[in-house]
């Protein structure tokens, strides 16, 4: 940016144009004058480049098929993820057994507290923090959507792996649910390890229902 001193003296109209100097246009609008400077080259270049890119990118997509459609791409990715998930579950189930869940997972305080943390984030809204499935408002007991988890009843199977499966897959599709409420398949959001941790937390909270096995 030049200041006033170094600014070249400006001439008006055709005279300046012929001399190749910066043109100050003849006309004034309410006292406002206008130079007629050349367009900056870097500016023109960005403009041209964007236009060329428009043509090139469109052609690459529609004429050469270089890029996949969004739908193709996402379906491929999701399918791959599902395979990965199924494999991860199969691998996890090799080591996660009823015995292991009770004897090893549920007895490890680190695992149980990890399970509790997951429970607190995801499960309390429907099953309550104390597992009772009931919320206290003042002195009133309001039932929450989920079943109580401390009453010794396990509606969909009482083996540790039944719990694991229920959490992973949600309420079985052919079951009516609890007052219409069906649990979401948590396998969508939680990994097999995390589900095992939650299961371990529930086992640890209900030692009578899951006696240690030999």
């Amino acid at each position: 940016m030049s200041d006033e001193n170094s600014e070249q003296e400006v001439k008006r109209g055709d005279f300046a144009r012929k001399k190749g100097e910066v043109v100050l246009r003849e006309h004034e609008y309410d006292g406002i004058q206008e130079f007629d400077q050349k367009l900056p080259n870097w500016w023109l270049f960005t403009f041209y480049f964007a236009i060329v890119w428009f043509v090139v990118y469109w052609a690459l997509y529609y004429h050469t098929g270089t890029y996949k459609t969004d739908q193709q791409k996402i379906i491929e990715q999701v399918t791959q993820l599902q395979e990965q998930k199924a494999a991860a579950l199969a691998t996890a189930l090799e080591s996660i057994t009823d015995e292991a869940l009770i004897n090893e997972w549920a007895t490890d305080p680190v695992v149980v507290s990890a399970g509790e943390a997951i429970y607190t984030t995801n499960c309390v809204a429907c099953h309550s923090a104390d597992l009772s499935g009931v919320m206290l408002v003042g002195d009133q007991k309001i039932p929450l959507p989920g079943l109580p988890l401390d009453d010794g009843e396990w509606k969909y199977g009482s083996k540790p792996l039944d719990l694991f499966k229920l959490i992973n897959e949600g309420t079985p599709p052919d079951e009516p649910g609890h007052n219409g409420a069906k649990m979401t398949p948590w396998g969508q959001m939680l990994s097999p390890k995390q589900i095992a941790e939650v299961t371990a937390f529930l086992i640890a909270k209900n030692p009578d229902d899951f006696p240690a096995q030999q």
Partner: protein, 844 residues
């Protein structure tokens, strides 16, 4: 005017209107920004949605949430107030002041000026009443209800008549660049506003937009994006071209840059709307146009910045002493920054991360606070001493305003960048093992709480600065007297406004432009091979046009000069330039993307009660925080898609009958498009979706109970207010008129069905022994009866229906659709599958 002699005439400018617009701009500016600060704090503290009233009245008012103060209702008030009240009035002040001087004529009609000025303020007042009352059309920046829409259109036409009439009476043959931008503003805003507000009323305060689903989305963002372009940008560029050279006392940098950047800006801007809908179910060709035109828009936008900043050459020393120059220089710099950021965010890959996050909020505020806010302040400080014939009350205070405002903007923008990028990254972060996501939505929200607080503080600083501006202008006005300039102007001898239409159109520049654009469009739409031929012709035409320009530069120049002496042909060409983009994008979609062409998922129709619930969803402004659009991106599908469904992104058929569409533009809460589900076992109407009725019941009552850490307002008033069953027959009649294929139902059937469904849900909740605050004694039958009438039931009905669809299968190989470039591409792939004997559809 009556004193006119042959040579000169004496004119007194109407500066009273300018003063009034300016004062109202400041007043509404303070109001709009204050509402903005309140909205900002609501995102940090849910209590700001009404609970705080309990504290400031020392318990006289008891409420967990007050309907008029919830974020969903206040945020539209904030955006409308800042855009239409603050910038609108500021723009009118600048336009009225400069147009008179650039035309050397008093505004054509004082009466029209008065109607315009007071009519606009009435519109603002009615907006300020209706928006918090929950009366809305549910489309961003187009929320105002239909009677106000008509008022806005009428007042805008009055403004247009007054403006063009003044041009017709001008004593200055040639139009200055500022006027070009004003012309573009007036013509384009009228076009955008009218088309995007077309709707059919169902009552005095409610209407349904005539477009639905993706078409409504397309029209909305054609409007929304260009409201930014032609309401917040072009008029302010015009104002810059007048006030900046005046304040700097320097010539404008480059006249030819003015010409090039004006025409390229107004032509290209219109096409960029779909960049608000990237990676959604909007057809890919529209997404491509949105992204690629946004990139092409960068240079034209920067043309304006260059012409502004380089005009300051030789006047930079004033930056130290003159607050006006300070504000202008900073404002134009922010314009440059925002118009660089815009194209960047329009790149689909960048948009994956930024969209639905606070990055967008930061982007618009660097424009609104930096560009609009600072240009307004600069103009006010320049105008006030002249309008009241005195000097600015305090330069020091103006400087203080500048620095407080600048720190405010930087704090605001930086915290929103951080928040947006952080949340965007967290939402896409996969957990150990790579098969699940690492964070719950609410965790990402909690991670940006500090940024939210800093943002509120930044916004507050800006507001404080602006109040200082108000005080300064007030004191300046008090120290002087209202003053209208009187000048002696020469009556021009030259002839102007005589260009015949033939001369406007029958010439090289126009012919080359139109033919070039025509073949470019044929390139988009022609079937394979025809398209490439059209491209080749378009390129050849461009080369020939450049050659023609090189040999006939003077002729082209003379034509444009002549155009500037003829305001009507000029206006006509501007209109053609701005109309093309919208027409090419919207009309094909209206023809192609219809029910009969849908293959795959097609939306289930809402029952009467679900429709009532949807209207509550719209009315409460849920779309301000929740999207209904799972993009074709892994983080979206992993988070919101259902287990085991590979293509569970949102398909365009899923929202085809939604008037208005509710795809949303920001996720302060999670996406809702998979909330709905199937009919519950044994139920006639009741559906149970992703979550059951009790969960929704508890959640609307107190979101933090079901979702710890949520900042959503509590909605206790939905448990008191009754559902409007009476209006349903009329609403369904209008929906049918709009093309939603409802089966014939009379008003009794509609009413009975709605009540039966409400009762079913209420019974379900009563069985679960829910408790309504204030009605704790209600049990069983009584409770069900009480609940069945309440809005919360209708809203739950809608939540349980949201996003449900049926499958539509079509036999045979895919057929190409004229006007749908994507089908040509799919043809080659799907057709391939058919040739190979795989008859199932490859593309859903």
């Amino acid at each position: 005017m009556s004193t006119a002699t042959a040579k000169t005439t004496t004119i007194t400018y109407d500066d009273k209107t300018v003063r009034q617009f300016m004062i109202f701009s400041i007043i509404w500016g303070v109001v709009g920004m204050l509402v903005g600060v309140i909205c900002a704090t609501q995102l940090s503290w849910w209590q700001m949605n009404g609970k705080f009233v309990e504290w400031i009245t020392f318990g006289a008012v008891q409420s967990e949430g007050i309907s008029y103060l919830t974020f969903g209702r206040l945020r539209p008030l904030h955006t409308n107030a800042v855009i239409f009240a603050f910038v609108g009035n500021m723009m009118f002040a600048g336009v009225y002041y400069s147009t008179q001087r650039l035309c050397k004529a008093r505004t054509a009609s004082d009466l029209l000026s008065k109607i315009h000025m007071w009519g606009w303020q009435l519109i603002i007042v009615s907006a300020a009443i209706t928006l918090p009352a929950g009366l809305t059309r549910g489309k961003e920046y187009a929320e105002l209800i239909w009677p106000i829409n008509i008022a806005v259109a009428l007042i805008w036409v009055i403004f247009a008549i007054n403006f063009f009439w003044t041009l017709a009476k001008r004593n200055e043959p040639s139009l200055y660049v500022a006027l070009w931008f004003y012309i573009a503003t007036i013509v384009t805003v009228a076009m955008l506003y009218i088309v995007n507000h077309l709707s059919i009323p169902t009552s005095l305060t409610h209407s349904y937009p005539i477009f639905g689903g993706l078409q409504d989305a397309l029209v909305q963002w054609w409007y929304g994006h260009n409201a930014v372009a032609f309401f917040l940008t072009t008029p302010i560029l015009g104002i810059m071209y007048y006030f900046l050279p005046k304040a700097a006392n320097r010539p404008v940098y480059s006249y030819r840059l003015s010409i090039i950047h004006f025409w390229s800006l107004v032509f290209i801007y219109i096409w960029a709307g779909p960049h608000h809908l990237l990676n959604t179910s909007l057809p890919r060709w529209l997404q491509m146009l949105g992204m690629l035109f946004s990139l092409m828009l960068w240079a034209p936008s920067w043309g304006g910045m260059l012409n502004g900043l380089l005009t300051l050459r030789g006047a930079w020393n004033k930056l130290r002493t003159d607050p006006v120059i300070k504000f202008f220089a900073a404002g134009i710099t922010f314009y440059g920054m925002a118009t660089f950021e815009g194209p960047l965010l329009s790149i689909r890959a960048v948009n994956q991360l930024s969209h639905y996050t606070d990055w967008t909020i930061g982007h618009v505020h660097s424009g609104a606070l930096g560009w609009n806010g600072f240009m307004a302040a600069g103009m006010f400080y320049w105008l006030a001493p002249r309008l009241w014939k005195t000097k600015l009350w305090s330069t020091a205070l103006a400087n203080m305003h500048f620095w407080i405002g600048l720190v405010g903007i930087l704090l605001y923008v930086a915290s929103m960048w951080t928040a947006g990028v952080l949340q965007g990254l967290m939402l896409g972060q996969v957990a150990e093992g790579g098969t699940t996501l690492k964070y719950e939505f609410v965790e990402t929200l909690q991670a940006i709480q500090i940024e939210y607080i800093l943002r509120s503080f930044g916004g507050l600083l800006f507001l404080v600065g602006f109040i200082l501006c108000g005080i300064n202008i007030w004191k300046t006005a008090r120290s002087g007297q209202p003053h209208d300039d009187t000048v002696e102007v020469a009556v021009p001898e030259a002839t102007y406004d005589e260009m015949p239409l033939r001369k406007t159109f029958a010439n090289d520049p126009f012919a080359y432009s139109i033919l070039g654009i025509l073949f470019l469009c044929l390139w988009f739409f022609l079937p394979p091979h025809g398209d490439k031929a059209a491209l080749v012709i378009s390129v050849l035409l461009s080369i020939k046009a450049v050659r023609a320009f090189q040999t006939n530069a003077n002729k082209w120049n003379d034509w444009h000069e002549r155009l500037l002496h003829n305001y009507l042909p000029f206006t006509l060409l501007v209109f053609i330039a701005v109309a093309i983009g919208g027409a090419v994008q919207i009309i094909p979609s209206l023809i192609v993307n219809r029910e009969k062409n849908i293959e795959g998922r097609l939306q289930e129709l809402y029952t009467p009660l679900e429709l009532a619930g949807r209207d509550i969803y719209v009315s409460e402004g849920c779309y301000n925080c929740h999207s209904q659009m799972i993009r074709t991106l892994m983080p979206d599908v992993m988070r919101y898609g259902r287990a085991g469904v590979a293509d569970d992104f949102s398909h365009l058929g899923e929202s085809l009958f939604d008037h208005p569409f509710q795809w949303g533009s920001k996720r302060t809460g999670p996406d809702l498009s998979r909330e709905g589900g199937d009919l519950a076992d044994g139920a006639t109407y009741m559906r149970i979706g992703k979550r059951d009725n009790v969960w929704h019941f508890n959640h609307f009552l107190n979101p933090r109970q079901t979702s710890v850490g949520s900042n959503m307002p509590s909605y206790p008033f939905l448990f008191e207010s009754k559902t409007d069953f009476k209006s349903l027959p009329k609403k369904i009649a209008v929906q049918t008129q709009l093309g939603v294929p409802y089966p014939p139902m009379n008003q009794h059937e509609i009413n009975d069905q709605a009540r039966a469904q409400a009762r079913e849900i209420a019974d379900n909740l009563a069985t679960a022994q829910v408790i309504v605050p204030g009605q704790e004694d209600l049990k069983g039958e009584e409770l069900a009866k009480y609940l069945a009438d309440r809005q919360v039931i209708a809203l739950i009905a809608y939540m349980q229906k949201l996003g449900t669809y049926k499958m539509v299968e079509k036999d045979g190989p895919p057929k190409p659709q004229p006007l749908d470039p994507d089908t040509y591409r799919e043809i080659s792939e799907k057709g391939e599958a058919y040739r190979k004997g795989q008859t199932s559809a490859v593309n859903p």
